[in-house]
């Protein structure tokens, strides 16, 4: 009890302060507002946002759920870079003691730091990033060989947490409203390689259209910023090969 009490009191008496500018507003516009929060030795960007909301301005709106990098709901722009804020240590994100937090880029803003994720998930469906069953519940489960080339390719993309960091990092998304974006295309590529998915033709059709994989300029922001170190750029390259092979009448296998 004493130990815990001491630790808490040490934290509470921290004298160093951190100046943070937080974007406030909605779809009609907004501006950055300055807040001063205690600088802790160990705090994440999400901790800072939570401190502002809990101790300074309860009207601050933001989104989070798990706080351990599983749910993908707390991504924001931190000093101009898209980050999962619950796993981003303040010391790794601040530049010259400056911390600027804004809602995710390339998405409409609902209020303050909460971005509207609807376009992101609509494109996920638009890329046929949905399960296309190959069997019914009455059939035996399809055997999957974990060492097959297709399965290895599919397994590379399954850890996506839908945080939209890649979507916010992409300049092609910013320039082209129709572009499906890295996460949706990576999902399409994952399902394309999944032996349990029966929608290969539908996927190729969806990703070769106007907003499809061939819009990608390989700028690599998606792969650079993906917090789970996935490689959407590589997945999109796979779709480019598969759609091209299909265009020339060959069955793409990689």
């Amino acid at each position: 009890m004493n130990d815990t009490g001491l630790a808490v009191s040490n934290l509470a008496t921290a004298t160093e302060e951190l100046s943070v500018s937080v974007w406030r507003g909605d779809q009609s516009g907004g501006r950055f507002e300055q807040f001063t929060v205690p600088a802790r030795q160990n705090q994440t960007v999400l901790d800072v946002v939570a401190y502002v909301q809990q101790h300074i301005d309860p009207t601050l709106t933001y989104r989070f759920a798990c706080r351990v990098g599983m749910c993908g709901s707390c991504a924001m722009m931190v000093n101009g870079e898209p980050r999962w804020t619950c796993r981003t240590h303040v010391n790794n994100a601040t530049k010259e003691n400056r911390l600027e937090i804004a809602p995710l880029r390339n998405l409409p803003v609902i209020k303050d730091l909460a971005a509207d994720m609807d376009p992101f998930f609509d494109k996920w469906v638009g890329a046929e990033g949905v399960h296309h069953p190959s069997r019914s519940r009455h059939d035996p489960i399809a055997p999957i060989d974990p060492t097959s080339a297709h399965r290895i390719e599919a397994s590379e993309g399954i850890e996506c947490i839908n945080c939209a960091v890649c979507y916010a990092a992409c300049d092609t998304v910013a320039a082209n409203d129709d572009y499906l974006g890295p996460a949706a295309l990576q999902r399409a590529w994952t399902l394309y390689n999944d032996a349990k998915d029966d929608g290969r033709a539908a996927i190729l059709e969806a990703v070769s259209g106007k907003g499809g994989c061939h819009n990608c300029h390989s700028q690599g922001g998606c792969s650079h910023y993906c917090p789970n170190e996935l490689n959407p750029m590589k997945a999109i390259a796979g779709l480019k090969r598969a759609t091209t092979a299909s265009f020339f009448g060959r069955k793409g296998n990689s």
Partner: protein, 114 residues
Amino acid sequence: MNRLGHRKHGLWLAFALHRISGVALALFLPIHFYVLSLALNQPERLDGFLRWSEQPMVKAAEFGLVFLLAVHAFGGLRLMALEWLPWTSAQKSLAAAAVAGALFLAGGFLLSAI
């Protein structure tokens, strides 16, 4: 807002270099063809231009031109490897290292020959 924020990484820089060098070469090409056409119609003007191009400043600009060509050519090769070879990143790094090593050896041989 920090506009450069999410663009400060090597992959984006490679993209930008490829684009800028491509635009610069596209602007250069019409001038290049115009000068070549002088050989057919106005050879004396072409000779004048060639004498003018002996100036050190123009020679330096030629270096810039070769740099643009090299950057654009290798940028294109990089892009084709990135998108068309279903290799792993490690395989691509090894291939790039092999090409770099071969160029280094061949370049050294060329320099010692001339």
